[in-house]
């Protein structure tokens, strides 16, 4: 399997904070979308910053298309499209002027593709960026990311704060992007329902540590959440549970193989879990 992005043992500490990225490792196969989820402050943005060299990493390796990216490796950055959870561009620019800026930056800048993305997203050409809504600004950033032949999109909370209609439009664009098997997306999001729709893999991060990377289909169709009474819980072999959480009248247990668990523990109901429920159990549950 070839990977667009491979992160191995990434570490990062800050002098004025107790937070640290602790040996973060995961990889994104070509042609896939990786969802990157975790609570606020879990380390998603720090990981992305360390991947993109906007902060210096303390250790570990990050390879894009098999190569480490140093500051001088501008050819690698030609292949990246990045959207941060911010305006990203100077507010006094218009989308039209932005195209002239990007034409002077990217060798493969495609003004026609950019124009067609702007039209598709309904973004006016000659309005100052500071006058655009947040949704429009994010779509503008996406139009830029899609218009220079990028092979990997890195999106930090790109759909946060957007209404469901705009989000749905954007998710469709992401799916179209990875129709070409050489392209991939790393997308952090709080909105796990978005990731359920489009992601191929999900990486969970908690307190700076990756706690699970798994195929989304496996999470939804093979993993399960057993709803146990206290007595039933006592009978479960600890090796058969990934995490558990005590609730008012039952204990939810995250299991890796729902069907095998049902066969082994007759009488315990095992539901399919949503990404949200699985994340809650992994993060707030005990092991």
């Amino acid at each position: 399997m070839t990977y667009s992005l491979e992160i191995k043992n990434l570490t990062k500490t800050y002098a004025d904070s107790a937070f640290r990225l602790d040996n973060v490792s995961f990889a994104i196969p070509r042609g896939t979308i990786m969802g990157f989820v975790g609570e606020n402050g879990a380390g998603k943005t720090t990981t992305m910053n360390a991947i993109l060299n906007t902060v210096k990493r303390d250790g570990g390796s990050v390879t894009f298309f098999g190569r480490e990216m140093e500051d001088q490796d501008t050819d690698l950055r030609e292949q990246l499209g990045v959207v941060f959870d911010a305006v990203n561009f100077s507010g006094v620019l218009t989308p039209s002027k932005l195209s002239r800026v990007m034409a002077g930056v990217y060798r493969r800048w495609d003004p026609d593709m950019y124009l067609s993305s702007l039209t598709r997203f309904g973004i006016p050409l000659n309005v100052k960026i500071k006058q655009l809504s947040r949704g429009m600004t994010m779509k503008l950033a996406l139009a830029v990311a899609l218009s220079h032949g990028a092979k990997l999109l890195i999106l930090d909370e790109a759909t946060a704060g957007l209404d469901p209609i705009v989000r749905d439009e954007i998710l469709d664009v992401f799916l179209e992007f990875v129709e070409d098997d050489s392209r991939s997306i790393l997308m952090s999001s709080h909105i796990t329902s978005d990731l359920e729709k489009i992601a191929d893999y999900i990486t969970f991060i908690h307190r700076g540590k990756v706690i699970l990377t798994e195929s989304k289909d496996k999470l939804i169709y093979e993993y399960g959440i057993a709803r146990c009474k206290a007595g039933q819980f006592q009978d479960i072999d600890p090796a058969d549970r990934l995490a558990y959480r005590k609730r008012d009248y039952q204990i939810d247990v995250l299991v890796e193989d729902r069907k095998a668990f049902e066969r082994k523990y007759a009488g315990i109901i095992v539901d399919r879990g949503t990404i949200d429920e699985i994340m809650l159990l992994l993060i707030k549950g005990d092991q």
Binding site: G91, Y106, I129
Partner: protein, 211 residues
């Protein structure tokens, strides 16, 4: 780097327009006060005013997080700094160009004092170059939020630098005048040196800066 230069120009465009407005407005001062000292001061103001407006566009870039985002572009960190300093030189050149109006006006009414013109340019250049040289590395290190205060302080420091240079020269020659040509030339040369040092410091800060 071409794209970065275009971006810097667009970011500064509104300020350039405002600066042109101020530069043209001060041309009217001779209607109320005349003399070669006034003309000299007008030229200095016109040369400096473009540089004095750089803070607003830097603030805007910081608010939008462009400074962070541009690092994901296919440009090196050094290219970012190169583009900034080329843009500053462009700003100072705009200031020099706008002051031509004053020369034309005074030439037209026959009151063009060449010595006052040279002194005005030397003072304006020294003020503009020193201010930028001091402020930009500080903004890079501390953030653009207080850029206006920093710029005022830097303008004060650049006058302080001129005083220090005058004092040093005065120790060797009692005839040296604070407003004289020698102090003007040495101060401007010192400003150019400071600009070069400022570039090196900014490039170093940028290489290690985390966004």
């Amino acid at each position: 780097m071409k794209g970065l230069l275009i971006n810097n120009y667009y970011s500064m465009q509104d300020n350039i327009k405002l600066s042109f407005g101020i530069a043209l407005a001060v041309v009217l001062i001779p209607l109320f006060a005349s003399g070669s000292k006034v003309m000299s001061m007008i030229i200095a103001v016109q040369t400096f005013v473009f540089a004095s407006n750089m803070g607003t566009s830097l603030q805007m870039d910081e608010t939008s997080k462009w400074n962070k985002w541009e690092l994901t572009l296919p440009v090196t960190r050094t290219a970012v700094i190169n583009a900034k300093y080329i843009s500053f030189i462009f700003l100072i050149t705009m200031g020099l160009a706008s002051s031509l109006v004053t020369l034309l006006l005074h030439g037209f009414i026959g009151e063009l004092d060449v010595n006052a013109v040279i002194d005005g340019y030397l003072f304006g250049l020294q003020l503009a170059i020193t201010s930028i040289a001091i402020v930009y590395p500080l903004i890079l290190k501390l953030g653009a939020e207080k850029s206006d205060v920093l710029l005022l302080t830097a303008a004060g420091l650049s006058i302080g630098l001129k005083m220090v240079i005058w004092y040093i020269l005065y120790m060797f020659n009692n005839d040296i005048n604070f407003n004289g040509r020698t102090v003007g030339i040495v101060s401007t040369l010192a400003a150019l040196l400071l600009f070069a040092v400022s570039y090196l410091i900014s490039a170093r800060i940028q290489r290690h800066k985390e966004f």
